[in-house]
Amino acid sequence: MTIEKITNRVIFPFLVVVILFDSGLWIYLKAAEIYGPQDPNLVYRSQAHPQYIPPPIGFSKENQNVSPVANANGRWAIRYASPKCHFSEEDEKRWSKLASQLRIKGYQIITLVPDGERSYSVGAQSLGPSLQEVYVDLGWLKHFRLSGTPTLLIFEGSHGLIWSHQGELSIFDPINALHEIDYWGKH
């Protein structure tokens, strides 16, 4: 078989198939992003949610008081995760990249865990420089529906909760989150 035949009969048809396949997947991903349940209101328990919510006060596993303070712009984020959760582990790579972006933007990150048995050990890589709370103020918890790990909540001063995500972060989520942060930071 000549090179011309190989090119025409094998490579080009393959190229067409792969291009169609990739396009289909890309459209699927985009549609999933656009039509997926991404509304931050979903994590609120009631419609009458407060505009400004301070970071939750809590206690560590060793019963040490943890009083996180949002930065001057009122920027802080909650990651609800567990070292024993497969989805949290899978999410680690994308989360750590987003977390470093959030820190650059001045976000105070607080990690909440389901319970003492499923808490990160001090100095765990997943925890990074974030604060960990094992026992959390119910006055804060009653506003939100934290029903599965990982969940990410991002707050911006008087705008309150500006972005949230339940489940693993997809490739578009960090981009969406940073876009929201930039948008609300200017308004």
Binding site: V18, L29, G36, P37, N65, G139
Partner: protein, 191 residues
């Protein structure tokens, strides 16, 4: 003629190599997209399950920090010694507190333990003021899973009765017109 043939071969060679390289790049992109598509699928599935079943969270243990900042060690619950956990709401703290004080008076001979949870500052400051009178401990900072399970139950007017590790907590309706101190006390003592 030979030179022309060589030129054509070279051109086809280049096309084939470019086509092959493009194919490799597109296959790589396809694999990455496929991995992400798999994540999106599981992710959406997880979300749907969670959103549809917010009540399915288990109450694991009455562990936490009380309104005075002291750690609360979980009670050992069993069928013979049930532990009842309930939420005290800040916006109706006086009626909630008096209800549970009455319940504790009616059930003090029973082999049960009562544990309250405060839903915020209004509740905890009121509880601190009346603490010498309270025959049960009140948790202000709880574990997320258990606290969420209790908040979910309370929204429907229930308290949770713990009867042992790994056993499904019993839900008892205590908020509502039909729930009186007498019938709730009887129900708690009957377990």
């Amino acid at each position: 003629m030979t030179a022309r043939a060589n030129q054509l071969t070279k051109s086809f060679n280049r096309e084939a190599v470019n086509g092959l390289l493009l194919l490799i790049v597109l296959v790589y992109c396809g694999v990455r997209l496929f991995q992400n598509a798999a994540t999106v699928r599981t992710d959406r599935k997880q979300k749907e399950i969670r959103l549809l079943t917010p009540q399915s969270l288990p109450f694991l243990a009455d562990k936490g920090v009380d309104v005075f900042g002291n750690p609360v060690v979980p009670s050992v619950a069993s069928k013979k010694h049930p532990v009842y956990v309930f939420l005290l709401r800040g916006d109706r703290i006086d009626s909630d507190l008096s209800f549970w004080l009455d319940i504790s008076r009616h059930t003090k001979k029973e082999n049960i333990t009562l544990i309250g949870y405060c839903d915020g500052q209004d509740c905890s400051s009121r509880v601190r003021r009346s603490s010498p009178l309270l025959p049960f401990r009140v948790i202000e900072y709880g574990e997320v899973t258990s606290s969420q399970a209790l908040i979910n139950a309370d929204r429907e007017g229930y308290l949770l009765g713990l009867i042992g590790v790994g056993k499904r907590p019993k839900k008892i309706k205590w908020r509502g017109a039909n729930s009186t101190v007498l019938n709730i006390s009887e129900e708690l003592g009957r377990q």
